[in-house]
């Protein structure tokens, strides 16, 4: 269920935007509250006409010192938390993005695909359920294929027996049956249980596999 791949896109799902906006909004609320309660009283002293210039200078020094101490911390902390929250949401949005592609593939009849998530991704349970669903569907279609092959073989046996030797109306019925069986096979081909093989010229060379050469005798017998 887990695969070794990385995604380089930062935003792959609208959930990410929503979460980042919410996080930023609440952090901004905290910052505004910090400014209003901690910093604003310092600034108010500077505007007070009853305060002497020495006291104002002291308040200004305090304010500058506070600014120099707090804001770098605030920026670094919030940036770190924002990056972490984006990473967190990526572990949800990434699997959703993969499911998105997978559902389209399954709908097209490709039942050989499986949900593969990154090691630290969330939604592993959902991926397991999708894979279990695909396993069950694949099993059912495999069973249909087997039964379909049996029907095809049986109808071919009937055709071999009666072709050309029976009255014309039997032959006509047989032809219709063969056509319908062909159509049935075509319908069943809408489901693919194996990945399509790449063209012959694009297949990798397998040097490890021993080259099986038919002996002249076997070829002759064949």
């Amino acid at each position: 269920m887990t695969g070794h791949y990385t995604r380089r896109q930062l935003f792959v799902h609208p959930v990410q935007y929503r979460f980042v906006v919410t996080t930023l909004m609440y952090f901004s609320c905290m910052l505004i509250a910090l400014y209003g309660i901690v910093v604003l009283p310092m600034v108010q002293t500077l505007d007070d006409p009853s305060v002497t210039w020495q006291e104002r200078a002291q308040a200004a020094t305090q304010f500058l010192g506070f600014n120099a101490r707090v804001w770098p911390w605030v920026l670094v902390t919030f940036l770190g938390l924002l990056l972490h929250s984006m990473y967190f949401m990526h572990r949800i949005a990434g699997p959703l993005d993969r499911f998105h592609a997978l559902f389209q593939t399954i709908g097209a009849g490709n039942l050989y695909q499986r949900a593969k998530l990154r090691e630290h991704d969330y939604l592993q349970r959902e991926a397991g359920d999708v894979n279990a669903m695909l396993d069950q569907l694949e099993q059912k279609i495999e069973s249909l294929n087997v039964h379909c092959a049996n029907v095809t073989n049986a109808s071919e046996d009937v055709a071999l027996l009666i072709q050309g030797r029976s009255p014309s109306h039997v032959n006509a019925t047989l032809l219709t049956l063969e056509e319908k069986v062909r159509q049935f096979n075509t319908s069943l081909d809408g489901f693919r249980l194996r990945a399509p093989q790449p063209p012959q010229d694009q297949q990798p060379l397998d040097f490890a596999a021993p080259i099986a050469m038919d002996s002249p005798a076997t070829m002759k017998a064949a």
Partner: protein
């Protein structure tokens, strides 16, 4: 065409075309009774919808994601509190510990610490209130993700068992609407494919029946035997096909 079975209870009758549905426009539903309704007939679902509609689940832990999100937000806020307290109080605390300072100077610093305390803690309390609101809001957002995931998992299990009549519907405001629509589209496509196979099987059955009747006029026992075998194979195929539940039966 029969009406599709729903994974949820809806207040209005379902639209006939499964592909044309939008999950988001459906009315609020009860996730608690989901598994029960997956196994009931559409008429039962409609009958019960009148009684159980009021029992909509507003708040529940249905996914580990919710716990993770909550713990993440709380740890974020704790980090902010601690990291802000360090630059605010540390220089003053260091000054208090400085042996070179006179007691008068230390008294001024202590006065500063007390003043800052008086200002910092109201901020901390208001930030704490903001944190609580943030937690509730974030949990609500995650609930709108976890709810659909919970519902989709049930739908996957049902599809795996061959029920292709199901369509998932989400509550108003739920996220993952595109995913739910894709699952519905996927189910509709699978349903169409299986329906086509069922139709083809029915046609083949009819043709075999015709061949059987035509063969009876010929009176060939070998042919009758082979046709019977084909018929048997087709019956097995039908049994396999019947494990799929589609709109056409």
């Amino acid at each position: 065409m029969n009406r599709p079975h729903r994974a949820t209870i809806t207040t209005e009758p379902a639209v006939d075309s499964p592909a044309g549905e939008t999950a988001s426009r459906e009315t609020p539903t009860n996730t608690a009774s989901l598994s029960h309704h997956l196994e009931t007939s559409p008429s039962q679902v409609q009958a019960e919808s009148r009684t159980e509609r009021k029992g909509r689940r507003l708040w529940a832990l249905v996914h580990p994601l919710q716990i993770r999100m909550l713990s993440m937000i709380i740890s974020y806020s704790l980090i902010i509190f601690v990291l802000l307290a360090i630059p605010v109080f540390r220089p003053l605390m260091q000054a208090l510990d400085d042996r070179s300072l006179s007691w008068q100077e230390k008294a001024v610093v202590a006065d500063e610490v007390l003043k800052l305390h008086a200002r910092y803690w109201p901020w901390a309390i208001s930030a704490g209130i903001a944190l609580v609101i943030h937690c509730i809001h974030s949990m609500q957002i995650v609930f709108h993700v976890a709810g659909p995931l919970y519902r989709l998992r049930s739908v996957f299990r049902q599809i795996g068992q061959g029920n292709l009549t199901l369509r998932t519907t989400l509550r108003k405001g739920d996220l993952l609407t595109p995913e739910a629509e894709l699952v519905n589209q996927m189910t509709a496509q699978l349903d169409a494919k299986i329906s086509a196979i069922k139709m083809a099987q029915a046609t083949v059955a009819l043709d075999i029946d015709r061949l059987k009747q035509a063969g009876a006029t010929v009176g060939d026992p070998t042919m009758a035997e082979l046709v019977k075998k084909t018929e048997q194979n087709l019956a097995d195929l039908k049994t396999s096909l019947d494990s799929f539940k589609t709109h056409n039966g």
